[in-house]
């Protein structure tokens, strides 16, 4: 089994709900400090967003962060270099769009990610059907490929997606792109249907924006992914200390 999945399964066995915050690499000059702060605040893994010019699955907040990162000259390679100097014990998961990997070269990407301490990848526009090449390349470098399941995914398809996802499964709580939401969405139904076909750790994301939402969500899932809500305060100028206490507020709600 992949390193990432082993880690996340033992996390679940220890009875802890996973907290996975999301940081857009390069959105601010001190983004690696934000990652470290998130770890101090109690994150169990951190998603590192690699900006792409056409983020089809992202709402306004993450779009804005990506745009700022690109304007600062951020590239896949510059992110990898900065990750090299980052000291952390917890897993890092890259999130980006397929063209970034394709352009860098699939094998080269997987090798580079592995070398800088990344153990998983989420590529929302890489459908299961198109993923053979990437899974072969990532498998060789012990990079887990994490797939998403949406409220629109049929039960038969859930079985296939869950069977191929590595590390964890990303359950999308609603039919929407990334961004804040006030309701709970359909996360509970999606997770309960997934439970029938797979026992892979299942984390819920898309619209989890408050500690209270995280608390309710963790009751029926193995963890939560907090994206836009965190990215938003970072765009507003949050310091590493602010990020740490923001993440800690979610940690407290989960424990």
């Amino acid at each position: 089994m992949k390193t990432l999945e082993t880690t996340l399964r033992s996390l679940r066995e220890s009875g802890r709900k996973a907290l996975v915050p999301y940081v857009v690499a390069g959105a601010t000059p001190d983004w690696t400090h934000h990652v470290e702060a998130a770890v101090l605040g109690g994150a169990d893994a951190v998603e590192i967003g690699i900006p792409f010019s056409d983020p089809m699955m992202d709402g306004v907040v993450i779009q804005e962060a990506g745009l700022r990162a690109l304007e600062r000259g951020t590239t896949f390679e510059s992110i990898c270099q900065e990750l090299e100097s980052l000291e952390t014990e917890i897993p890092l998961v890259a999130m980006t769009y397929y063209n970034i990997f394709l352009h860098y070269g699939l094998r080269r990407t997987a090798g580079r990610l592995h070398d800088v301490g990344v153990s998983g990848a989420i590529v929302p526009d890489l459908s299961l059907e198109e993923s053979d090449e990437w899974r072969a390349a990532s498998g060789d470098s012990d990079i887990a490929t994490i797939f998403l399941v949406a409220p629109s995914t049929s039960r038969t398809r859930m079985r296939t997606v869950a069977g191929l996802s590595q590390g964890f499964l990303y359950a999308s709580a609603r039919m929407a792109v990334t961004g804040a939401a006030s309701d709970q969405g359909e996360g509970e139904r999606v997770v309960s249907e997934l439970r029938r076909v797979s026992d892979i750790p299942t984390y819920v994301g898309i619209g989890v924006s408050t500690p209270a939402q995280a608390h309710t969500t963790a009751v029926f899932s193995d963890g939560v992914i907090v994206g836009s809500a965190l990215v938003k305060i970072i765009l507003q100028g949050a310091s590493p200390t602010d990020v740490e206490s923001f993440v800690r507020s979610f940690r407290t709600a989960l424990d």
């Binding site: 779009q63 352009h103 526009d125 890489l126 998403l148």
Partner: protein
Amino acid sequence: MDEINAMGQPDHRGHFGGFGGRFVPEALMPACVELEEAFRDAWSDEEFVALYHRTLREFAGRPTPVTPLPRLSQRLGLRIFAKREDLAHTGSHKINNVIGQTLLTQRMGKTRVIAETGAGQHGVATATAAARLGLGCTVFMGEVDTKRQELNVFRMELLGATVVPVTSGSKTLKDAVNEAMREWVTCVADTHYCLGSVMGPHPFPWMVREFQRVIGAEAAWQLKELGVDVPDAVVACVGGGSNAAGVFAGFAETAAQLYGVEAAGGAAVTSGSPGVLHGMRSLILQDEFGQVEEAHSISAGLDYPGIGPEHAHLADTGRATYVAVGDDEVIGAMRLLSESEGIIPALETAHAVAWMVREAGGRLPTGSTVLLNLSGRGDKDVAQVRAMLMEES
């Protein structure tokens, strides 16, 4: 091999050779599958096909004629015929596709369409077909384009559509596509995304080409009536590639040379490289880090950094040839066709004319027979061209 002829069906995953496929968020996968099944079913149902053709005839003015262009022919030393998509309702070939897709929307039991638009031609066509069928319609248009094409915004609104200015990214066509995709995720249950060209995830590139095939099919028999068995060359402008795919489809199995003319500032085949954008693997304009670049063209309809995957494949196999024309050659070509034949072409179409002017006696040997796909009329562009000419003088 699923593929038996040059422009047959893509394979079961929507691949044309090494291009195409379905690169969309999981949330949209079921909608793409549903659409593929619905289209397959409809396209093999005689009643649906008859309804589509009847609507084109009764509402959109098809068949559009093939017009010999004697004076331009004499000027260029060629024998030129034009397929007159400029005479179709709303002034371009875009109506063929939207009639197909809106009829399919109804058949799927959906009540609303969304669309992206650059210059507004596809948006106006979609709003038109939606009005005709009583469907709700929302059009996403880059904020920059809503300002450049105010009149088309008004047309869409007059037709009952809602126009949403897109302020993300470069605020142009490619961002309008992203925004339409984002919207589609939230409303797939009752809404169809009426994509405007032979691009996007499977089945769009194939489906849109099939809905545009009528151009080539008509032109083939119309040319025969005019005594031309097979033209030596077929020339069409290429943005996403729908008018070109439609006309090429009628001649792919013949000996005719197929030429696609891109705008130099949006030339995905000439200057692009393989990549994934907007749900498809194709040729796209991108920088050394894989970030998609903005296209820049005098004509908004060719301002797209990608190209339909089937064209990437036709370029790869050599069945079609893709060339590029710069902004500077286009106005002259527009004027030439206007003065010599009494047809004011769209700036997009003028790219094809410009290339013919350049290659007459070259790649288009003197005396050869050429079919020009006259994809649209130039009324939408005259104000812009006038302003440019006034600035120059």
